[in-house]
Amino acid sequence: MFKKVLAIYPHPDDETFGKAGALALHAKEGADITLVCATSGQMGRRMGKPFFANRETLAAIREKELKSACRVIGIRDVRMWRMQDKTLQFEDPMKLADRVETVLREVSPDLVYTYYPQFSVHPDHDALAEAVVSAIDRLPEYEQPVIYASAFSKNCERILGKPSVILDVSQVVDIKLNAIRAHRSQSEFLIEELEKALKEHPEKRDELLAPYCKEKYWKIEMKSGMIKFQKSS
């Protein structure tokens, strides 16, 4: 069991989609969870369905949604960095890693959730994950936390192999769905479809919820040399 968990993602809702189950299980086990959310998600394209946000109101709306999702999941320590969405790849990677390192040294997590650098599609995901791995690499080996990384690029399984951690989160799936609902501006289209399907086919409940009941992560082994960029960045 992990006692201190640090999740570090660029956007409000990254902690929820595909990950809220694992985080809710940690919360249930009594772990202290810290979430770093690097941007306000102010460049999101989804504005609700039908849309209720616009480019100028989206940041405040998404921060509020994040706080509400974190309450649902059981994350009490939420840190908003409020950087500009979709610009992390253009930031100085050393400075980004410095910022991550400060949090790592303060929180001393035994488990870190992040994306898998180069396999996470969105440039913010890849850039922040790279900073996280670089920052962890700076720690003495005995202080390095376990890393659970999410990957979803088209080539991820071909290159990385099967996920090393597959979690059954069915016992907290209702919590996860409520966290997804909390991110209303980003999830309304999806929840609407899911709820319609559940209403029309109540007998297919298990099948419809199955994708939400399983979460997959790749452990990043710092010494394996798999993360080739880490020494050069």
Binding site: R45, N54, K86, V121
Partner: protein, 116 residues
Amino acid sequence: MEAIDLQKVQKQLDCYLNQEIYFHLETSNGSYASLQGEEEMSVCAFIRNGKLKYSHGIIKGSGPYSVGLKLKEGWVYAEGLTDYEVTSDNQLLLGGYDHEGRVNIALELSSRPFKI
């Protein structure tokens, strides 16, 4: 935001004539567009708090709409705009939303810098 009213947007465009103002212009097919198929790629253009001064600004079309701003030495335009709002800070927000409520394009004008 509400569906574009041509006259109201035109009136607001006339308010900024020949003044140095800030603009936000973006268009994107989404960071996940590359996941849609082998040949697909994500594209995006983004300018926040650029400055411009236009001598002629016009909205055209019957929905979706286009807005063109004629500068002393060039042009800025946006196509595919569906909704608008004039905020209490007198900012003109124009957005082009698709059937799922996603932003395809946005053009915004303001006398003061947009929040960053």
